[in-house]
Symmetry: C2
Subunit: 762 residues, 2 copies
């Protein structure tokens, strides 16, 4: 009891010093080198606008051949690059494929150039050299000096607007280039249409329509200049249109207030005096240019850059303040808050200030009673990011579920989102992992959405026979190797997703919601389908043929062509989060399982297996355990289920220490819209959701010395690690609210009720 | 007084027999051969949908070279053709350039073919041979037998929907092809994007986005089948998209409910028994597929083809009943009501049933207090079509003006429409002829729009210096030859348009509306600018150079390169409708003018001048007077101003007799959205608006024996021609309401008050 009071009083004191300056610990450059695929630019939490520098213009294909270098540019920025092409307004954070990079602005001086130039010869285009010495990046703010033009460029943002402030140090002829061709991936080839209107001498509107990862995507914009444009012009870089007839009567290239075509670049010209600043406000909209103008007026009505920057910072302070930690050193604090920062970038708001948004059916809808979100990288984020949101972003969790249900209502496929962005389903990766997100929210009783309707959407999604082998799966109990090259991964993930439906159904029946009582049985049976791809002869999950036999050729180390996706048999065979005990038993019992798991972390993976994939580097791997990709994220916690919690404790600390470094190249794999970061946040706090859809978090080994989670219900849940130290990775004892905990997990409700979790380390 | 009562009683009796069957006199095939550019398909008055057969697929260019044959296909149909490609839902009536032909459906049997085939080898595609023997066309209804497939196809329409009924005579495998590539002009090359969703087994939605005459045009649609689709599929005929990634997992070609790409054709398959009918309802929307579905539900909620057909017929009866005539013979009656039919096709409704429409700024707007219209072929229609509407379509005139004002509000150029369609300004032809339409409506006191706002829009439009030489014109009093090849035509038409502004201003001041009193002076001065291109040395209007001199090379007979557009110096030099007396004086007085005008009609135009233009045929010409194009439409009435009304009477009867024939090739030039037809209607009634913007109609020689104009104010105005006969073209005396008329014109108010105009013929 004495200790109980100690923490009640002391923790707030201990953590108070950081109260109003958590943003100092965020380093947006973490992950911008090599595999992290993060961007350093300005954005607010879950903002529609991600205003960030793009450092190259590599096309997805050259002469019809995939260009492997493009992969580095998923977020537009690579830390090693020496030039900046410009600042575009939309970026994914941490994805392994891309799109976006819309509406690029670039300030220049001197001779007007309408092509971007190349990294090797930046002087031949509008791009500029830059140095990291002049760069500043902090939550909601980015600045850099564009050396070729002697311009200081600063960026900040609101939810739906990006604000640029350009200081023209030398003055003279200035141009602001508006490149509507520029984009990330498929550079120069994915534009379908662009439209531009110079509404008056300080306001420009338009849209960019693309056919990329999102098949049919349109971004509408409104651009306001703080100073009247003196002259302007356009060029259309697409082949001449067939019939232009009477348009030829006007010179549309110069000072003609409207342009449209597949590939347009524009320029806006100003005379400047030395040191003059021009502020440019850019609002986006998913609906219309009118929506963009409304967003501009609502969110950035004036050109007061400093105020917007400060508001962005304060918004970040508030969001980061949801978890206050004391770590062992500043590097860890930086890692933690940068992870929290990255976790709060996606999904992104996708509606105007009037709640209008473009739906999957390409019609305009209005979000009633919720904020609409997009960018659902669900194969990644269902694992830890959305569970994290069930703890510290409950309001947004309901918004996200409602957004998914709207997607479902608009889906002609009767599907919840798989990987969706900007009113498009891109079908990336496998499974139907909106289901675990929704089931987790139901099981954890997150308020704010219709549970019955949500469960119905899950069930309908899971019964869509046409989808990726689901008919096989429902008929045979597994997806056949003939059907897809990822048949084992798909089978395992369907089984897990199905278990989530059963869990949600169980909760709803308990609460007397209107739910089909036969559902739990159906989906619990389906959740055991993982057994159907288990090959006892090899001890691995293995591709199975339509005739019931296993495929002959089988390489358990290769990531390619072995029935898995983004993982090999070693890693993926452990993907039974819904039934670890069943899996352990299948694999020969606890002892053999632990030996197997140890081997995963200690074996020496031959070099040849690294060359075959673009996602994984040596740095992302421990033995054959791949942390740089998601399928194994729960694996270190599986030792708990085999009676070896110390091995879990060791491995999670090892991963936190080795795979998360406070440097541009500090992330060992794609951050994947915050999933990698969410793994770190949970693990640093000492617990992890092995199977979202349950209310259980498995205990690991905390990295924090102390932490307070400030819940939306006004309560707080604190974590302390007594005797914490770099070498003290093992947990001697755990107390919850002063009582010794005789289990290796805590329950969601125990967090939500507020309380104190104390780890005694050794 | 006795005669007065005679007509009061007798005319209704005389005309009563036609009351409920005016549609029998409409022959939609008139103008479908050669130059008329009309279409024979199904539509309702001013309908958004014009559902009509397209008989070929000639591209605008072949190998980068203009294909002159394309011109014939402005309305999609040429009477001489032997095959029908299918039935598309949008068509211009009578234009001299084109676009549209959206959303083509074609029913077929047997083997599925997704290409249209060619006229020479129809069996190699989905098109079919047909014979005029099986064709029926009447207002709101079209039918034809598709011989290659043994299908009877019938079409009808509501304002926003087209209804197809296909009778599969032999039964068996049936397909309905949905060709989203098909279009009129730029076949196969103007598609920007297409989108398609099979919402369920009887409903398909989507859109087609094109870059043609309208630069950025999207037509949304919803298609409902009366019978569930058994299977379906798509093919995208555009080059493979760069990145399709995970889409490859699904076979999108067959039974995949969604497709998008630049060039998509789909098919919907059915099994049919002999004689089975399938009805297909297609709704369009300018806004969204949701709008199209709403339109479908509102206007064609069931597949009851017969009811829709009957409703369309009744709508036409009502509209045609606005003028009831007794002609000398049935051919004239057919000509008259077909002209009235053609006059009531354009402009077209361009808003959903909820009043939503796409504006010029590409945003969705809602028409408040008016119906929104598009398809403004104003260079043609301001002359007689819109004046006709001021008499018999006053409600629509207000809607049209309000639509133009909305266009103006949305115009980044601060311009009223020039030639606009489908939320686009195509800038076709010259002048700013929304001004005479609006001024005419003000002068004639048409209720239902804001006169002050309308005049302001006219003035702003007329002061836009950047527009087509207007800066020259405002500075020098004429548009220079250096500026544009049509400098004389442009100058003359600006001068006329400017006079209209002065007239409207005059009316507004008189009525104490809030109007700038200096306007009339400014624009009356401008209206005299026609004098600045008058070359006394040749006796013609002539291109003038920036230095003030006339251009040396000058061919008064050629239509090309002489400073005019769609007319030669002989015809166009007479274009001073606002000041005939001034012009006559300039040209040497009445006597010389009459001689000159006589020459125009009697001279022998050398053959070489016919070859040079695509608009004019020998049939469209009398001497050198060109009725097949618009600039001379007022010319026959100019004899009135020179004291020779008999010559006017002779020429207008000659033109009505010779240039309007009740046959497919009966129109001597493009009907131009009803302008040619409106000329006929007015002239047949015995009066014509030489200068819209005044309240005056010049008297000619009526072709009717009797006519009653049923006005929207409940009154009626009747016309009688006593002693009418084929040879009795001269007017001995005219009485208005029983009083001898001692002038050669009547006033708009005299019509609107109701009354009786009697021509005594000899």
């Amino acid at each position: 009891m004495k200790r109980f009071f100690f923490f009640l009083i002391l923790i707030p004191v201990l953590l108070h010093g950081q109260d109003d300056n958590l943003t100092q610990f965020v380093n947006p450059f973490i992950g911008t080198d090599r595999m992290g695929h993060t961007y350093p630019g300005a954005t607010v939490p879950f903002g529609m606008v991600q205003l960030s520098p793009d450092t190259d213009t590599i096309p997805y294909e050259t002469g019809g051949k995939y260009n492997p270098d493009v992969y580095k540019y998923c977020a537009g920025y690579q830390y090693d690059d020496k030039t900046i092409v410009g600042f575009s307004h939309t970026h994914f954070s941490g994805t392994g494929h891309s799109d976006l990079g819309d509406i690029l602005l670039m300030p220049t001086t001197g001779k007007l150039q309408l092509n971007p130039g190349t990294a090797g010869a930046p002087e031949k285009g509008y791009r500029s050299c830059f140095s990291h010495d002049t760069e500043i990046a902090s939550p909601g703010y980015y600045a850099v000096t564009l050396e070729d033009h002697n311009i200081r460029a600063e960026l900040t943002a609101t939810t739906r607007t990006g604000i640029h402030r350009y200081t023209f140090s030398e003055g003279g002829d200035a141009h602001i280039i508006l490149d509507m061709i520029h984009g990330i991936y498929n550079y120069d080839s994915k534009n379908v249409w662009t439209f531009l209107r110079v509404e008056n001498d300080t306001l420009v509107t338009g849209y960019r329509q693309t056919n990329g990862w999102a098949r049919t995507r349109t971004v509408y914009f409104a651009i306001a200049f703080s100073k009247p444009v003196e002259s302007y012009g356009f060029a259309n870089f697409s082949p001449a249109q067939v019939y232009r007839g009477f348009w030829r009567r006007f010179d549309q290239r110069t000072d003609f207030p409207e342009a449209a075509g597949a590939k347009i670049r524009g320029h806006f010209d100003f005379s400047t005096v030395p040191g003059e600043q021009i502020t440019v406000r850019v609002a986006l909209s998913p609906v219309s240019t009118a929506g963009a103008v409304d967003n501009l007026i609502s969110e950035a009505p004036t050109s007061d850059f400093a105020s917007v920057r400060e508001a962005a910072r304060l918004t970040w302070e508030k969001e980061l303040g949801r978890v206050r930690v004391k770590m062992m050193n500043r590097d860890q604090t930086v890692n933690f808050y940068t992870a929290l920062y990255h976790a709060f970038l996606s999904p992104t708001v996708y509606s105007d200030t009037d709640n209008g948004y473009k739906g999957l059916d390409q019609n305009t809808h209005y979000a009633e009673g919720f904020d609409n979100y997009t960018t659902f990288s669900l194969w990644d984020t269902y694992r830890a990011l959305h569970p994290l949101f069930t703890v510290i972003q409950q309001k947004r969790t309901a918004d996200i579920v409602n957004s998914m249900l709207a997607h479902y209502d608009q889906s002609v496929h009767n599907m919840l989102p798989v990987w969706s962005h900007y009113a498009n389903e891109n079908w990336c990766m496998i499974g139907y992992h909106a289901v675990p997100v929704i089931a987790d929210a139901i099981v954890k009783k997150i308020p704010g959405f219709d549970y019955g309707r949500a469960l119905e959407a899950c069930v309908t999604t899971a019964r869509n026979g046409w989808y990726d082998g689901l008919d096989d799966y429902m008929r045979l109990g597994y997806v056949t190797d003939e059907r897809t090259g990822s048949s084992v991964s798909v089978t395992l993930e369907y089984a897990y997703d199905d278990w989530c439906i059963a869990q949600a159904d169980g909760v709803l029946r308990e609460k007397l919601f209107n739910s089909d009582t036969s559902l739990a049985g159906e989906f619990l049976r389906r959740s055991q389908n993982y057994r159907n791809v288990w090959d006892a002869s090899t001890g691995f999950m293995r591709p199975r043929l339509a005739d019931g036999g296993f495929r002959k050729e089988f390489d358990v180390l290769s990531t390619h062509g072995q029935g898995f996706i983004e993982g090999n048999a070693w890693n993926y065979s452990l993907y039974v989060p819904q039934d670890p005990e069943g899996m352990i038993s299948l694999m020969g019992g606890r002892k053999r399982f632990v030996e197997h798991l140890d081997s995963l972390f200690t074996m020496d993976l031959p070099d040849s297996y690294f060359a075959e994939t673009e996602d994984i580097t040596r740095e992302g791997i421990i033995g054959n355990y791949v942390h740089g990709n998601e399928p194994s994220h729960h694996v270190p916690y599986l030792f708990n289920y085999a009676g070896e919690p110390r091995k879990t404790q060791y491995r999670v600390r090892q991963i936190m220490d080795a795979k998360y470094l406070p440097a541009p190249d500090g992330l060992s794999g794609n951050d994947d819209c915050g999933q990698m970061s969410a793994w770190y946040i949970f693990s640093a706090l000492g617990f992890y959701p092995v199977a979202p859809g349950s209310d259980r978090y498995d205990l690991g080994s905390p990295l924090v010395k102390e932490a307070v989670i400030n819940l939306e219900n006004g309560k707080s849940f604190s974590v302390s690690a007594v005797n914490q130290g770099p070498g003290n990775v093992y947990v001697k004892k755990v107390e919850l609210n002063g009582q010794k905990l005789d289990r290796l997990w805590i329950k969601h409700d125990e967090i939500m009720q507020g309380g104190h979790l104390v780890f005694y380390m050794k």
